[in-house]
C-alpha cells in the first residue's frame, strides 16, 4: 500500500551513486509492546518538501528521531544522504526543530543572539548570521532573553537554530503546533522559501491545510505505516471525500461503482459503504438509477480514506484497488 511502486528507483542495485536525501528500508521500531514504525519504506529525493501527516501516535516523531539517529530502529535501515543518520548530523548536513513538549527548546537565561552565535559555532560551515536573521524573521528578537518570548516568537528562534548550520536537510516536528493563525502563515512562507532553495524539508503535522499549502508531497502515516503518498496539490479534492452508508436488499457492486463521484465501493451482505468525491451527485444518481436504499448516512470519510482516494488519483493498478476496497470496508467500522 506504500508508495514504493511510484518510486522504482529504490529497486536499483546498491551502491546507488546519488543517494536520495532520506531513505527507510523495511524499518520497524517498537517501544516495549507498542509499535511505532511498522516495516516503513520511504524514499525522499533531494530538494523535496515533504509533509508527514497523521494522527497522534502515527509514528511521525519516531520517523524524525530515526532520521536524526536519536532512535535506533530495531530492524531495517535508515539512511540520510546515503549514510548513517548520526554521520549526517555530525557532519552538520541536517538541522532540526524537534517537539519541545512543555519547554521552549532554547537555553534559559541567555539572549537570542547568544544562543544563535553558539549554534553557528557548532557547525563548520554555518549560514551567514544576517541571512538566518532575515529568513527566520528574528531581527527584532535578537536582544530578547529566550525565556521572555511568546510561543510564536520562540518557534521562529528555533527555526533560526535549525537552519543556522546551513543544512541540506531540515526536519521540523509539528513546528506550528503552538502558533496562532497569523504566525502559522508566516512560518509556512519561511519553510516554503527554504525548500525553494533546493533544500530538502521534512515536516510533521496534523494540519491538513499546512501539508496541502506548502508540501510538494504528502505522506500519510498511521500505526507506523505509510497509508497514502501523493502530491500536496490534489489534497483538497481528496479531503472532500464523503462516505455514504446504507442498506440495500441486493446490492450490485458493479452498478454501484458506476455511480457519479464514486471512488470506492464496499459491500457486506446488505450493507453498502461508498466513498464519493461528490456525495450530492452520488445520491442523485442513486435515485435516478432506482437503487432502493434505506438508512442512508453520510459522513466525512476521515483522513485515511481521504488519502486512499488521493493515491488512487495516480496510476490505477488492478490488484491494488481490491486491496484498498477491503481496507476501506474494515475502516468503515471505526469511522
Amino acid at each position: 500500500m506504500s508508495s514504493l511502486s511510484a518510486a522504482p528507483a529504490g529497486a536499483l542495485a546498491p551502491p546507488r551513486p546519488n543517494p536520495p536525501a532520506l531513505s527507510f528500508r523495511n524499518v520497524t521500531h517498537r517501544y516495549g509492546n507498542r509499535i511505532a514504525l511498522d516495516r516503513l519504506d520511504l524514499d525522499v529525493p533531494r530538494g523535496e518538501v515533504l509533509a508527514l501527516l497523521g494522527p497522534n501516535g502515527a509514528g511521525k516523531s519516531t520517523t524524525i528521531s530515526a532520521l536524526l539517529g536519536l532512535v535506533r530502529p530495531q530492524e531495517g535501515r535508515v539512511e540520510v544522504l546515503g549514510c548513517d543518520p548520526r554521520q549526517a548530523v555530525s557532519a552538520g548536513r541536517v538541522g532540526a526543530m524537534l517537539q519541545s513538549g512543555s519547554g521552549i527548546g532554547l537555553p534559559p537565561g541567555v539572549r537570542v543572539d547568544e544562543a544563535l552565535r553558539l549554534v553557528r559555532r557548532l557547525y563548520s560551515r554555518p549560514a551567514p548570521r544576517e541571512q538566518i536573521v532575515e529568513r527566520a524573521n528574528i531581527g527584532s528578537l535578537l536582544q530578547r532573553r529566550t525565556d521572555r518570548l511568546s510561543g510564536g516568537q520562540a518557534q521562529r528562534v528555533r527555526f533560526a537554530i535549525a537552519i543556522a548550520g546551513n543544512p541540506d536537510i531540515v526536519f521540523l516536528d509539528e513546528p506550528t503546533s503552538a502558533m496562532d493563525v497569523e504566525s502559522r502563515q508566516g512560518f509556512w512562507r519561511m519553510m516554503r522559501a527554504f525548500g525553494d532553495e533546493g533544500r530538502t524539508v521534512l515536516f510533521a503535522t496534523h494540519h491538513l491545510a499546512e501539508a496541502d499549502e506548502i508540501a510538494d508531497r504528502v505522506v500519510v502515516l498511521n500505526h507506523g505505516r505509510v497509508v497514502a503518498d501523493g502530491p500536496g496539490a490534489t489534497l483538497k479534492a481528496a479531503v472532500a471525500t464523503r462516505r455514504l452508508r446504507f442498506v440495500a436488499d441486493q446490492p450490485d457492486r458493479a452498478q454501484l461503482s458506476e455511480l457519479d463521484g464514486v471512488t470506492e465501493v464496499g459491500v457486506c451482505g446488505t450493507g453498502v459503504s461508498i466513498d464519493s468525491m461528490d456525495a450530492d451527485a452520488t445520491i442523485r444518481d442513486l435515485v435516478v438509477r432506482g437503487v432502493m436504499f434505506r438508512d442512508l448516512e453520510v459522513t466525512g470519510a476521515g483522513l485515511e480514506q481521504a488519502f486512499v482516494a488521493l493515491t488512487r488519483c495516480g496510476a490505477e493498478e488492478a490488484g491494488r484497488s481490491r486491496e484498498i476496497a477491503s481496507a476501506g470496508t474494515v475502516g468503515a467500522d471505526g469511522s
Partner: protein, 282 residues
C-alpha cells in the same frame, strides 16, 4: 564514514559523476575543538552572569565561615593535631566546592533537559558525550575560584598561616577532589524534574555537608554517624586536605573512595541516558 571515503575518493575524475555528499568531518583537531570550546565558553559565561548562582555559591560558604569564626576558640584542636582554625577553613572550602558544583549543574541541567534544549544540542555536530563532559568541566571551573575565595577569607580573617607551597598544594588538592560533586550535580540534573531540582540540590548541600563532617568534625560525632560520614565524599576530601596541610601521607583509601564515587555516578548517568534512549525520550 571510512567506507564512503574509500568507495568514493574525492578527485577530479569523480566530479563528472554524481557528487557524493561530503559527509567527512574535517579531521584536523582545530575544527573538532572549536565547537567544544564554543560550548564550554557559553556554559561558563552563562554561570558567571547568573546573579542567583553567584549569590548562592559565594554567599553560603563565606557567610557560614564567618558565622563559625565567631565560635572559634583559640587553641581548640581537631583530631589531636589539626588546629580548629585550619579545619574550619578546609571544611568551608569543601562546602563551597559542594555548593558551587551542585548548583552549577543540577538545577540548570534539569531545566535544559525538560525544555528540549539538551535534545536540540544532540542534533548539532556537537559530539554526544560533550554535553555531559562540558557540564562537569564548567562546574569544575567555577569551583576553583570559590575554593580560592574561601582560602583568602581564611588567610585574611581566619588566622590561617601556611607556607606558599602548602597553599598551592592545598588548593590543587581541594579542587581535584571536588570532581565527585561536579559529577553528582550532573547526575541530579539527569535524575530529577526541574521543579524538584532546586530543593533536592539545596537539601543535598546540607545533608552531605553535615554528614560529611563539614560543620562538626567527624570524630566528635556519635559512632553510627561516623560510619555514615565515611560514605560521603566531603569527609574524604577534608581528610586528604588536612593530611596535606599537616604533611602526612595522603591515604590511598580516601582517593579510592572518591574515585569510586565518580565511577558510580558516571555509570549511573550513562545508564539513565541509555534507558531514555531505549524509550525514545532522550
Amino acid at each position: 564514514m571510512t567506507e564512503l571515503s574509500i568507495a568514493l575518493p574525492s578527485g577530479p575524475d569523480h566530479q563528472e559523476g554524481p557528487i557524493p555528499p561530503d559527509l567527512t568531518l574535517r579531521s584536523d583537531w582545530r575544527s573538532r575543538l572549536r565547537p567544544l570550546l564554543a560550548f564550554g565558553r557559553f556554559e561558563v559565561g552563562r554561570l558567571l552572569r547568573s546573579w542567583r548562582f553567584l549569590a548562592i555559591t559565594v554567599g553560603f560558604p563565606v557567610i557560614f565561615y564567618i558565622l563559625f569564626l565567631g565560635d572559634h576558640t583559640a587553641g581548640k584542636v581537631v583530631d589531636n593535631t589539626v588546629p580548629w582554625r585550619v579545619y574550619l577553613m578546609v571544611s568551608m572550602c569543601s562546602f563551597g566546592a559542594l555548593v558551587a558544583a551542585l548548583n552549577a549543574a543540577g538545577t540548570r541541567l534539569s531545566m535544559e533537559r525538560a525544555s528540549g534544549w539538551a535534545r536540540q544540542l544532540r542534533v548539532t555536530p556537537l559530539p554526544a558525550w560533550s554535553y555531559v563532559a562540558t557540564k562537569v568541566v564548567a562546574s569544575m571551573l567555577v569551583v576553583l575560584p570559590v575554593i580560592v575565595l574561601v582560602e583568602a577569607v581564611g588567610a585574611g580573617f581566619g588566622d590561617v598561616r601556611l607556607a606558599m607551597t602548602t597553599w598551592v598544594g592545598l588548593t590543587v588538592l581541594l579542587w581535584a577532589t571536588s570532581l565527585p560533586f561536579a559529577v553528582l550535580g550532573v547526575f541530579i540534573g539527569f535524575l530529577v524534574a526541574p521543579e524538584a531540582a532546586f530543593p533536592v540540590v539545596t537539601g543535598l548541600m546540607f545533608v552531605l555537608g553535615y554528614f560529611g563532617g563539614l560543620f562538626t568534625p567527624v570524630d566528635q560525632m556519635p559512632g553510627s554517624l561516623q560510619f555514615v560520614a565515611h560514605l560521603i565524599p566531603s569527609y574524604h576530601q577534608v581528610s586528604l586536605a588536612l593530611a596535606a596541610v599537616d604533611g602526612h601521607t595522603l591515604a590511598l583509601s580516601h582517593w579510592l573512595i572518591l574515585g569510586g564515587c565518580v565511577a558510580i555516578l558516571g555509570l549511573a548517568i550513562v545508564w539513565k541516558h541509555r534507558l531514555e534512549e531505549a524509550r525514545g525520550v532522550a
